[in-house]
């Protein structure tokens, strides 16, 4: 699979087709048995997730684990004092995404977790971002806010964006330039955005 600078990619596929596994493999938190991963022509297959993150690779998790740490302290651990300045620049999104910087990341609702991941995405300004189901389980208001945050990111730092989703709806708002369809851990189909339309009509078969 290949992802080019600043383009948007959609990854679709039925449950268990390997979408999240692929995302984790790129991030380095899923071991791979075969193959190699290159980032800007550099072989990163053996790099730790931490180093990949520092190169500018980001994963917005489908499920944020329960963490007895506030977002503020987490960002402080990553960036030190600089974190406050960076958060300050995103003030409007702190409000927009209802981010409570001081609350421990425990007992967050599905929607709150999605917004948290989106906020981290804006904060980190990665070169390459995978958003794993940023739209699942969120209400319509949150959905709009998430789309708005993604739009902002594209204008502001224009990353390569890989969106994994079950729902085609998000691609009506964020247009992909390329689509991968996974099945049984393999790329079953790939092509332009018209692929989404055909899946909508005929399913994955």
């Amino acid at each position: 699979m290949k992802f080019e600078d600043s383009k948007v990619y959609a990854i679709l596929g039925p449950n268990g087709s390997g979408k999240t596994t692929l995302a984790k493999a790129i991030m380095g938190i899923q071991k791979i048995s075969k193959g190699k991963i290159f980032f800007n022509s550099k072989d990163i297959t053996k790099l730790s997730p931490e180093k990949r993150a520092k190169l500018g690779i980001f994963l917005g998790f489908q499920q944020t684990p329960e963490l007895e740490v506030s977002l503020q302290n987490l960002l402080f651990a990553i960036d030190g004092e600089k974190a406050y300045e960076k958060i300050n620049k995103l003030k409007s999104f702190v409000e927009e995404l209802d981010i409570d910087l001081k609350r421990e990341l425990i007992g967050l609702s599905g929607g709150e977790k999605k917004k948290l991941e989106l906020f981290e995405f804006l904060y980190m300004q990665p070169k390459f971002a995978i958003l794993d189901e940023p739209d699942s389980g969120v209400d319509i208001d949150s959905f709009k806010k998430i789309v708005k945050a993604i739009d902002f990111a594209r204008k502001e730092f224009n990353p390569t964006l890989v969106i994994i989703s079950h729902y085609e709806n998000i691609f009506n708002y964020i247009e992909p330039s390329f689509v991968y369809v996974l099945k049984d851990g393999k790329v079953a189909k790939s092509g332009g955005k018209e692929l989404i339309e055909s899946i909508k009509r005929y399913g994955y078969e």
Partner: protein, 436 residues
């Protein structure tokens, strides 16, 4: 002067100190009881008493910097302490500047009528006053290690705050340490007269060097009506120490105590500060942080006796375990202690797969019109959390650090800033060792 544990050593110590016969007799009775007592059931690890020696400090004896264990030196380095300060925290001498500060504080306290002496001085200078409180709350027969304490007690702090005096700055043993050094069986007495307020900090922010392998202090606290004490302990003894202190407070009407305890150091540590709520509306709260690095065992906990109406107690315990931690509490609500409330929360964070965290809450509720609540939780640094934090750009060590600090924050925010900063550093240092 190093002596084995014997009746002769007790007699010699008492003679050396030039004590009266009542003190000598008390020491001997305590020693007799120590010899015939069995180890308390709660003891999680026993020190080898056969090899135990007591260190009788003679005036003017000093240890050389070369004798300080390497590990402690390393910790001092990590804390970025200047050389002079390191030496002096290790008990090697007194820094002139600090002496000046100490004298200023002493003057200020004297003006307020506060008595702040070492317990040895208090015994000599105010014998009747001292006798009124000494061993009145923790009996010489309380437990085996309290008996041993009374046989060999030396040093410690005596603090008396007169009626309605509110001491605005925390008083710490730090200042005492500079002058005296700390004994291994120090005895601390704090008396607050009605309406008095005080924050007392016991222990040191840097690991104390001690030659001794057993440390058994006793703390007796008397809080009169409407008085308020914050008693902060930063325990960071070196890792060859068994620490079994006995701490107890009795509270009159409307009095309030906050025990804030950070147990970071020592090899084996067992401590349950006890509050006896004997006056109406008195209240006790415990905030504890217990940390067990590898190969250490820590038991923290609290005892509260609700002996009057409308009393309340809170225990918040946070244990971080690489080795072994346990939480043990005893809460009793006496008959007639109507409308009393007790609440305890104990959370454990297990750092490694084979880290141990146990809880032993014990309740004796003898009054129907009272309420008791207990919550316990365990969290771990599992693969999922670690993966998440690494993916966000943290190393394994940083990930553990952020989790541990996040977990400890409820207690750390109760500790004065300079101490919490150093506790964080020590936690990070130990976690660094774990991760390699």
């Amino acid at each position: 002067m190093i002596k084995e544990i014997s009746k002769e050593s007790v007699e010699e110590l008492s003679k050396e100190k030039g004590e009266d016969s009542w003190m000598l007799n008390l020491r001997l009775r305590a020693f007799e009881n120590f010899e015939k007592s069995k180890d308390p059931k709660w003891l999680i690890a026993k020190p080898n008493l056969k090899d135990l020696t007591v260190f009788l400090k003679k005036e003017g004896t000093k240890t050389s910097w070369e004798e300080i264990p390497k590990e402690i030196k390393k910790t001092y380095e990590a804390l970025n302490l200047p050389e002079v300060e390191k030496k002096y925290l290790a008990g090697l001498g007194v820094q002139e500047d600090s002496l000046v500060i100490y004298r200023k504080i002493k003057e200020q306290l004297e003006k307020m009528g506060v008595i702040h002496l070492s317990s040895d001085e208090a015994y000599k200078e105010h014998p009747e006053f001292f006798k009124k409180y000494f061993s009145k709350l923790v009996s010489i027969y309380d437990n085996k290690y309290a008996s041993l304490h009374y046989a060999f007690w030396s040093g410690g702090t005596f603090l008396y705050v007169p009626r309605n005096v509110k001491v605005q700055f925390p008083i710490s043993t730090y200042f005492r340490l500079m002058i005296e050094g700390e004994g291994q069986f120090e005895h601390t007495i704090i008396v607050l007269e009605p309406g008095a307020e005080l924050t007392y900090i016991e222990g040191c922010s840097a690991p104390l060097f001690t030659k001794s392998s057993l440390h058994a202090g006793v703390v007796e606290i008397f809080l009169n009506e409407n008085s308020h004490l914050r008693f902060i302990t930063i325990q960071n003894w070196s890792k060859n120490v068994y620490n079994f202190p006995t701490k107890r407070a009795i509270l009159r009407k409307n009095a309030k105590i906050e025990w804030i305890t950070a147990d970071i150091g020592s090899k084996v540590n067992v401590v349950y500060p006890m509050s006896i709520l004997s006056g109406e509306n008195s209240s006790s709260s415990n905030f504890m942080l217990t940390f067990s690095p590898k190969n250490t065992k820590k038991e923290g906990g609290a005892k509260v006796i609700h002996a009057s109406k409308n009393t309340s107690s809170t225990i918040i315990s946070k244990s971080i375990s690489i080795g072994y931690t346990s939480f043990r509490s005893m809460i009793r609500i006496n008959p007639g202690a109507k409308n009393s409330k007790a609440r305890s929360v104990c959370d454990t964070f297990l750092v490694e797969k084979n880290s141990v965290g146990k809880t032993f809450p014990h309740f004796e509720i003898l009054e129907k019109e009272s309420s008791v609540a207990h919550e316990a939780s365990v969290s771990t640094m599992d693969k999922e959390k670690l993966n998440y934090l690494e993916a966000k750009g943290l190393s394994e060590k940083e990930a553990l650090e952020v989790m541990v600090h996040g977990f400890a924050v409820d207690v750390l925010e109760k500790v004065p800033l300079e101490y919490s900063v150093e506790i964080r550093k020590i936690l990070s240092l130990e976690i660094g060792k774990k991760v390699g």
